[in-house]
Amino acid sequence: MKRRSFLKRGLLSGAVAAGAAVSPLGLRQGFAGDDDVLEDILDDFEGPEIRLDIDDVKLELIDGKRVFMWAFGLHDDAPTIPGPVLRLEQGKTYLFEIRNRSTSRHSFTIPGMVSPDGLAVHVELEGKDDSDNSRKSILVLAKDCGAFLYQDALNAPIGRVMGLHGFCVVEPKENITVGNGNIPYPTSVAPQAVTSLFETLGLEGSVFPGNGWKAKSDREREWIFNSVDPRWCDRFEQGQVVSAGEATDFKPRYFTLNGNSGYDAAHDHDCVPTGTIGQPLILRTANAGLAWHSPHIHGNHVYEFSRRSAKGELRLHDNIREIDTWTMPPGEIAELLLPFKMPPDIPLSKRPPNAQEKFPYSFPMHCHNEISQTSGGGSYPMGLVTDWVITGPYKG
């Protein structure tokens, strides 16, 4: 199918499925099916496109067991759980084309993001057997900076837990400089506390000697926590449905970080923050599952500077807590700064390089509700855990 007809079918079927308010640019609800208007919009749209597919998959867990789940993947790329990290630039409009190749109905939703006409980003897609209605397109405006969780919200929260989730990160158009580095939010939006935190990084004589934070570098990691209840996987595989009302009967047996557990997560570059002393890093953490997690990091305290609720509302903090453990309710996103400081409780006279114990230093990050450190009812620590590594002293 050519791109044009692919899009057209998606757009028109969207009109049939939803049938609400007219949305001439959002191309979503209630599009009246005026082919000429549609053609105009498509002809005019020259912005970037993001094509995502939804597939039925089997996810291999840390103990080798395979469970039925759903996964997003970039079109013609292998599906992954979580879906790929989508990096958008603030101010741009993106055309999302979603194709559902799964047998079940799903939606594509990004809580907190909007179409160019200000409507919520949400399209519903029939299963692949109804091919006319299994493809949809929607325009997404990257209006605000920050981290978002794209997901299936049709039978919320079931689709998200069953694998349909991924990070969407909106970055400022140009790097915004404060102090010796960058800040991930415009200073017009960031409260004084957030600006002050990033300004202090890398300042001579401050609590953060070293560098400022560097945008668009390796100084960020996205962590999505999830948990797997194989009973739910089996039911969906057999064509049954788990209703949203059953969410309180969630009994997870596997716990993942970016789809990995234990050993796998600690050996995955995308999971393991790495750097020298004085190279601060941003952690974006989200909980796609239904268990409340309590991630705990060793070696350094972290500074929590934002939260986004499951509904998509952002709160940049005006009081920044320096903590070693943070709470992750289902569906939420937290952003934290991992300062890559010299671990503060090493005796002053025995800090590297004048020490027998040399770099690299590896420390774990794990959920402290330790039930999540298991796999299949045992096997500590093969659950929600990874490592982070200080590779050496400050290099300047």
């Binding site: 291999e60 009967d249 409340w292 309590s294 006279s349 420390f363 039930i371």
Partner: protein, 349 residues
Amino acid sequence: MTDIIISHPAHDPAAFDEFGCHVYAASPSTPDKLTPTKRFFRQVSSWNVTMADGKSVPFWGFKDPNVSGSDSPWPSKIIRVNVGDIVHCNMKPSKGTHTIHWHGIEPTPMNDGVGHTSFEVKSEYTYQWQASTAGTYFYHCHKNTVLHFEMGMYGILIVDPKSKTKKLYDPEEGDKLGDATIPARYPAYDAEGIWCFDDVDPRWHLYDHDAGICGEDIGMDRFEPKYFLCSGVPSNKTLTDSRTLVKAKAGSPVLLRIVNASYSELRITFPKDVLVAEEDGRVFRTNPLRGNFSKPFWTRTLNLSTAQRYSVFLDAPAAGRSCDVKTEFLHWCDYNRVQGTVTTRVLGT
């Protein structure tokens, strides 16, 4: 139904094994060893703890082998040091391997007590670290932690300020006191309460040390607590037991250190606003020299997930009056389910 498999590449079997099932165990000498200013001894021990219904449940923990009669306290004996102290703790596991992780304290990996990033202690090891920051911490075993933490292998760790007076911390140059930050009548306190909450699933307390660690399904994905305690006191005695009842002269400043050692989400409700002054061993300091981004705050409710700590200040109630604090244990998946409640008290004298 689907033939798309999201697989994970095969592991190096030896490395995989060492990560979980057969972790490297050793009894090395302490690297970079200094002369300590505070020295502690801990040995793994076990005993029974009486629950609210009178039943006796097996627990493990750390005793001080050099003090007779110190087998009894559970949770394990408090460790209290001052900012600047070089701390040594000699640990003898005695049954299988164990470790001590100094939660919230950030030493080198060798002294962090995590098997897969360093080693598990075979016969003995002396942990070393230097206390840098006043606040509330705890120490616990980090081997098969899901089980050993539930079995009670933890104790409270407090870093007091250098000044050695009853104070949460020593104000520093540049600290803003008496306005947006901690009122001038704090951070000193007259009375201190240490409330460490735990929940107990007695089914778990019958396992062996290594249970489940090499892949057996022993049901550690299910945790159904039957008992709720505060600082080792069962829920039916927390209003009167001296370990939990805080007595303070009417109107005097009281510091409550609150720790969640349970596998539940805690929802704590105070009868009036309290000042939250510290979290996870870090004071909410307002100090432009240290980065002007944190401040203490007043609240009537606190939520703590596992291993979080808070310190709050309040003024003791009038003589004979009490301030009762309600702590609810919420299920970690079914969050609206209150599994148990513990009430603790500050009594004015």
